[in-house]
C-alpha cells in the first residue's frame, strides 16, 4: 500500500488549501470602514484596559514603543469574503499588555477611536493570538488601515481586528459590539464560516 505524506514533499500548500470556506484570494488590501477615518496622532494616542471593577491600566504611545514587540506573519480573512495570505505586521502581544492586569473577566469589548467596538472572549486575546499592531509591511500603519495602531486577531474574521484601537473593556458578561449587534456572528471563526448570527 502506498503511503502518501505531503509532509515529506516540502511543498507549500496551494493557496486554495489556505483559504477558509467561501473566501477568495485578494492581492490588494481592501479598505473597509464604517465611518470617517479618525486621525489620531501618536502624541495624544492612549491605550486603556479597564477591568470589571473599574481598575484602569493606561499606556501612552511612548510606553507602547518601550514594550517588547513581535513580528507576525499571518493570513487574514475578511467576512466580506476576501482573504490575504502571509501579511506581515509588527506589534505588542496582548499577553504583554494584560500580564499584570488583575481580572476575573471572561469577555472583552474592544473600543476604537471613532466609536467602533467589537467583542470576543478574553481567552482569544491571550496565548499568542492577538497583538496591538503598529507596523504593516515594514511601514507605519496608515490611518486607512487603522493606524497608528490596530488590534490584530487573525484567527477570527477581520472585523474583530479593530482599527484605531484605543482600549479594551474586560467584562463578566458578553456584550455585542458594532457588527455583532447588527446580525454578524458573536464569535466569527472563518474556518467554521461563522459570518452571521445562527451560522
Amino acid at each position: 500500500m502506498a503511503i502518501v505524506s505531503p509532509g515529506f514533499t516540502g511543498r507549500r500548500r496551494s493557496p486554495d488549501a489556505q483559504l477558509p470556506p467561501g473566501q477568495y484570494l485578494a492581492e490588494d488590501f481592501p479598505v473597509l470602514t464604517a465611518g470617517p477615518t479618525p486621525r489620531v496622532t501618536t502624541d495624544r494616542w492612549e491605550f486603556t484596559v479597564s477591568t470589571e471593577v473599574g481598575q484602569r491600566y493606561n499606556w501612552s504611545w511612548q510606553q507602547l514603543m518601550e514594550l517588547p514587540a513581535e513580528k507576525i506573519t499571518t493570513d487574514i480573512h475578511c467576512v466580506t469574503k476576501w482573504s490575504k495570505l502571509g501579511t506581515r505586521w509588527k506589534g505588542v502581544s496582548l499577553d504583554v499588555l494584560l500580564e499584570d492586569v488583575e481580572t476575573a473577566a471572561d469577555y472583552a469589548l474592544v473600543q476604537s477611536y471613532g466609536g467602533y467596538t467589537t467583542n470576543l472572549p478574553l481567552e482569544d486575546l491571550l496565548d499568542g493570538q492577538a497583538w496591538v499592531a503598529y507596523r504593516y509591511d515594514d511601514d507605519d500603519l496608515t490611518p486607512e488601515h487603522g493606524g497608528p495602531a490596530r488590534l490584530l486577531v487573525p484567527h477570527l474574521y477581520f472585523w474583530k481586528s479593530a482599527k484605531w484601537v484605543r482600549g479594551i473593556q474586560l467584562l463578566l458578561e458578553d456584550e455585542p459590539g458594532f457588527w455583532e449587534s447588527a446580525g454578524y456572528h458573536d464569535y466569527g471563526d472563518p474556518w467554521r464560516e461563522q459570518r452571521y448570527q445562527g451560522d
Partner: protein, 88 residues
C-alpha cells in the same frame, strides 16, 4: 463630499427589499443631535460588512443595514423617528 462615502440614495435598493415604500424620501430625526432630514441626505459608508448611514450633521450612526444570505438586519437605534410620506 469625501470619497469614502456616498449619499443616502444608496440605501434605496436594500430598503426596498424590506419596505413597501421608498424610505429614502422619509424624514428621519437623528437620536444623537436631533438633525432632521430625508434619509437620502445621510452619509452612507458601504465599503463595510453592512451599510452604515451616518448623520450629515454629527456623524453618529443613524441606521445600519446588514444583508445576509436569506435575512436582513435593520438597526434604527440612532433614529428617533421616521416620517414617511403616504398618498392621501
Amino acid at each position: 463630499m469625501s470619497d469614502d462615502h456616498v449619499d443616502g440614495n444608496a440605501l434605496a435598493g436594500d430598503l426596498r427589499e424590506i419596505f413597501a415604500v421608498d424610505l429614502t424620501a422619509a424624514t428621519g430625526r437623528c437620536a444623537g443631535c436631533g438633525y432632521q432630514g430625508s434619509v437620502a441626505t445621510l452619509r452612507v459608508y458601504r465599503n463595510a460588512p453592512g451599510l452604515v448611514a451616518r448623520c450629515p450633521h454629527c456623524e453618529e450612526v443613524v441606521l445600519r443595514l446588514v444583508r445576509g444570505r436569506d435575512r436582513a438586519w435593520l438597526d434604527l437605534r440612532g433614529t428617533v423617528s421616521l416620517e414617511i410620506p403616504l398618498p392621501s
